[in-house]
Amino acid sequence: MALLEIIELQAQVEEKQILNGINLSIQPGEVHAIMGPNGSGKSTLSNVLAGNESYEQTGGNVLFDGADLSELDAHERARAGLFLAFQYPVEIAGISNMYFLKAAVNAIREHRGEKQLDAMEFLDVIEDKKKLVKIREDLLERAVNSGFSGGEKKRNEIFQMAMLEPKMAILDETDSGLDIDALRIVADGVNALRSPERGFLVITHYQRLLEYIVPDFVHVLVNGRIVKSGGKELALELEEHGYEAFEGAAV
């Protein structure tokens, strides 16, 4: 059974149709990449999958682990193991990253029928995962994403992913804003989390990321439709020729 099965998905935001029938099937263990021009609907797809209520699913179906995603609220999707690393992570003043993560981890553990982590156990997990993305200690003490640099926010998203251990992770332009070293570290972190059970959907504009996180499939999204799919070589092709060849095709 596919981990994530997207069938003819259509969605709109503010009465404007953005997704025009997307089909995509991700098996456990696979990494899929989506590339596409600005405004083609990549973040819209991420938001719809994560359950953002500002986006309305107007057609099609999405099955996650066999369950109809449209019947689950955002928090239920997260608890079921779906994770979205935001293109623009939200700043939340007044709540420390640690406190926030502890609440998140425990909400998800509770759902899985696992016992709540106490302060010490939680710190152990933090220590463990911290190494994975080399996140600075002071970022954990600070308010969630507040005043973080662009790159720090992205790294924090991947840190959260490592803490929450999802079944399926969607990374929306996690590479944009990262410097060359950070890109490598974050990619290593993602690779360390690759497993036969876990799926990834990596949205990016740059082939460079896909040199580090090597995808099994690459899809081209134009005007809310997947207009071409292929192997990792497709990313190189796009890097060279751009999206021009596809722009007409999708309309």
Binding site: A104, H111, L164
Partner: protein
Amino acid sequence: MDINTRREEAAAAFAAKGLPTVKEEAWRFTNVSRLNEETFDAVWQAAEVSFDPLSDLVVVFENGKWSVEASSLDGLPEGVRVRSIMDSADARLGTLADSDSGFVLSNTAQFSDGILIEVDAGVVLEEPIHVVHLADAEGGSFAYRHLIAAAAGANVTVIEEYIGSAGVRYLTNVVTEAFVADGAKVDHYKIQRESAAAYHFQTLESELGGDALFSNHAVTVGGRLGRNDIRGRLLGEESEAICNGLYLLGEDQLFDTHLFMDHAVPKCQSHELYKGILSDQARAVFCGRILVQQDAQETDAIQSNGNLLLSRAAKVNTMPQLEIYADDVKCTHGATIGELDEQALFYLQTRGMDPQQAHGMLTFAFANEVLDEVACSVVKLRIEAMVQAWLAGVNE
């Protein structure tokens, strides 16, 4: 002028003037006329209200009077004197609280007790002084007059806490004057959790010398109708005033904060961070006036007032007012009234928190920004618990 003459004059002025009316600009949104229709009497009796001391140094007032039995000042070090204001005719009394507000006049005329805290030059008192006011006398009128004087280089923390017995109707009217001499530091906290049927008014006046620090954190959850008038005068260079506050209001509570910061000399800072969370039909008024006089070059003044409305019927009137007569200053102010951010709510939910948890966490986060600034850890814990309890009540 001796204190008795001053009290007689205040009584005469109050008799002529009465309480403020909505015709006065500063009282436009806060109608206290119901106080004229209700009766309140000074009733001195012990109070059966429990409280948790936040320090080994505790002074307890019960229904308007200092309770010797309930208070404990053991271990007060040399150079610090804590007495009842009734025991000493302090010449400074009334020199700061000189406004002709009806509440100040009536307080000067009628105060029945209060605390006088004097810290000698260079003396640092680590332990905070917890001043507790307990009220449970129905129809009671309690007028307290406090005076804090920190001499040059002295250092003291004072916590004023007001606790009322649930449902009891009474009136608390307080005037506190704080003298902060050169190089001195006074951290002042006010926790107001009066009964939901109570009326509470306080005027807090402070005067800072050079290189001095005065901080005030005012947290309000109680009272049906209340107001804090918090006024500071920066009279010596390089001094700093911090006035932060948090008000959590529900039902038909009305709470008014009037801040006034007077920058008279160069190179001073004043920081004011106020936040409010309102549910039901609650109302808040915030007026923050900052005056930067012509001589007060290089003033650094920041003010912000944020309000979170949890209900459509809740209402806020917020008015920042900057009056700047110097040209080399850094002053910013801002006010917001809003609801929780949808994007932030979604973000929390994508991390597994259900909508109620997400609301609770963001609401707490909103208030927590003010708590971040609280230096005294026992006070911080107390306020955190109050905020959590208040939020739990809202979610019920």
